[in-house]
């Protein structure tokens, strides 16, 4: 073989070697994040259940913190008695109220942008604005909530609370809202609004035009077409996006710290003592929006930043509970997408 051929062969070999090494680097990168987080999760699980604590000093005793007490007890200064029931109910009501405010607004905005708006400067501006809003740090939303909802620019002093009549009585809303569930849910609603709008827009876009044309050709008005045809067809997509947005709201901590939600409380929202209170004493429900609250991430933060190792282990157990709740919500979203997404394959 001549000189050039040899040289070519050597170079080819080297190029293939480089290519293979690049592939290996890419594979390692892909699994790097996944493996690290998996290892950390396993470590956390061991720490919470007391099987093995890699960072514990020798004198701390290992015990299982993932007990039924954790779900039913209130916070306490004794780690053995402490539980996160107030945080669980707080997170639940926060999610319900955030959904109440953000879903109609978000889906409405998406319907307007996808079905009604023409491509003009105003629409372009709204789109750009939504994209930018999605990138604003959550803590800035916390400042917005603190100033506009919790304090209302300190403009109101000794203002009487406003009553909103509902079927079973009056919901009393203090002015300014203060550090209540109402403030928290309004703040988080504004934060997740861009996510809901963008997800709903995508879901609406995936409904084929022929459905709309068929409905309009039968004499339906534009809104009838949207309400009876387009929205039902895009519902799985909208629900999936909404659930993911709400699960983001449940895990959020920073804006709630800023608006002044408490991290230590021994009361459930509305001073409810037992679940049956919601049925036997429905007036408890009316005080929920105006009551102080804590949520699971805030309790985790409170426990985990305490110096005692017992509380840090308790925080690990609470993290497991929070992650299980989020896993259920994500699973529901994936199920909706797969189950209904297949049936509605146009």
């Amino acid at each position: 073989m001549n000189q050039a051929g040899l040289q070519y062969k050597r170079r080819l070999k080297r190029r293939h070697l480089v290519s293979r090494m690049f592939a290996i680097i890419c594979i390692i990168s892909t699994w790097f994040g996944l493996l690290v987080v998996a290892l950390l999760l396993i470590g956390l699980m061991f720490k919470a259940t007391g099987i093995f604590d890699i960072t514990a000093s020798s004198q701390t005793e290992l015990r299982n913190w993932l007990t039924p007490h954790l779900l039913t007890n209130h916070m306490s200064s004794h780690p053995e008695k402490a539980g996160m029931v107030a945080g669980i109910w707080g997170s639940f009501w926060l999610m319900v109220m955030t959904g109440f405010f953000s879903i109609p607004l978000g889906v409405g905005a998406a319907v307007y942008l996808e079905e009604y708006s023409r491509e003009n400067l105003f629409t372009k501006f709204i789109r750009l604005n939504i994209a930018n809003l999605a990138g604003v740090p959550s803590i800035v939303f916390g400042i917005l909530g603190l100033t506009v909802f919790a304090r209302m620019f300190s403009l109101f002093h000794d203002f009487p609370p406003i009553g909103i009549p509902v079927g079973i009585g009056m919901i009393k809303i203090p002015i300014p809202f203060g550090r209540t569930l109402l403030t928290g849910s309004l703040t988080l609603s504004l934060m997740i609004l861009p996510i809901i709008i963008i997800a709903s827009q995508e879901a609406l876009r995936s409904v084929p035009q022929s459905i709309r044309h068929a409905s309009l050709a039968l004499g339906a008005t534009k809104w009838q077409t949207i309400w009876h045809q387009v929205l039902p067809a895009s519902l799985p997509g909208i629900l999936t996006g909404t659930i993911l947005a709400l699960s983001r709201a449940i895990g959020e901590t920073a804006p709630l710290i800023v608006i002044g939600a408490v991290s230590f409380t021994v009361y459930n929202p509305g001073n409810m003592e037992h679940v049956s209170d919601y049925l036997t004493k429905p007036e408890v429900l009316l005080t929920v929006p105006s009551s102080d609250f804590t949520v699971m991430p805030l309790q985790i933060w409170n426990w985990g930043t305490k110096p005692q190792p017992e509380f840090q282990d308790l925080a690990s157990a609470a993290i497991i509970v929070l992650l299980l709740v989020l896993l259920c919500m994500n699973g529901l979203a994936v199920f909706l997408r797969h189950h209904y997404g297949k049936r509605l394959d146009w």
Partner: protein, 319 residues
Amino acid sequence: MLPSSKHSLSAKTNFRRIWEGIVLTSLMFCATVSVFVTAAIIFVLVSESVVGIGDSLAFFQEVSLWSFLTDTAWAPQYGEGQFGILPLLAGTLWVTGIASVIGLPVGLASAVYLSEYASPKTRGIIKPLLEVLAGIPTVVYGFFALFFVTPLLIKPFAENVLGIEANIFNAMSGGIVVGIMIIPMVTSLSEDVIRAVPRGLREAGYALGSTRFDVSTKIVVPAALSGILASFLLAISRALGETMVVMIAVGAQPKLTWNPFETMCTMTANIASMANGDAGTGSVEYRSIYAVAFTLFIITMGMNIFSQFILNRYREVYH
């Protein structure tokens, strides 16, 4: 019978027309809410930091912009109080810098792997897993850093290899964990633009005898460069705005230092700890959080707008 039924039909039509109008108006209102929110954010930040409403003074009417930008200490509680953004900015830059060094290359490499190498089956496993990672709350990542990364990785490394003392709260562990946190974001955003590069370009490369490495680094990545840069900018702005991880793992002591193994304070952690503390409403300390938030808002907003500009201006459109 005919006229009356005709009459009722027209009445129905009229009602429908009005109803359509009501619906359109309320939907338009929903769409404009997002604009109101942006306007409200800017109004709140400006009114508390630049121009006060009524007789209340804004932050920059008490502390000059010059001292805010050049003072090297952030110590609101001592005497007159020093309000220099530099230590907070330095803390933010340290954390964001470390996070970028880890998150951006790893995220890009895994995006290349997913779109160029992985089989559809592998993709089907990894993509949902990345979504799960992206859904883990930031407070959990914060405790990963404090419980595991600092005692198991940072402390032994600093003490045994570098021979220096590492604080239990340090910028290094926070930065590393924020870096791991932004990997899924970089991967999914970059993978979308990399996959959008047309097949023909790749096949032309292979036809000329290129290896996969050549095609990936010399054809696909350059073709998708604008989108990749945009995803990098979004990820960096996410790292800048990250609060819980830095508050838990990096601490809340504003310090201007070159040592990443020391405790620091970022802009976000400063806002959260000041708001959580007991600074009275109306005091300069209380209003300083608005000035810091305003700075943070301008930086992240600028990066978001810049990334959209890159996407629109430099996007290669293939048909």
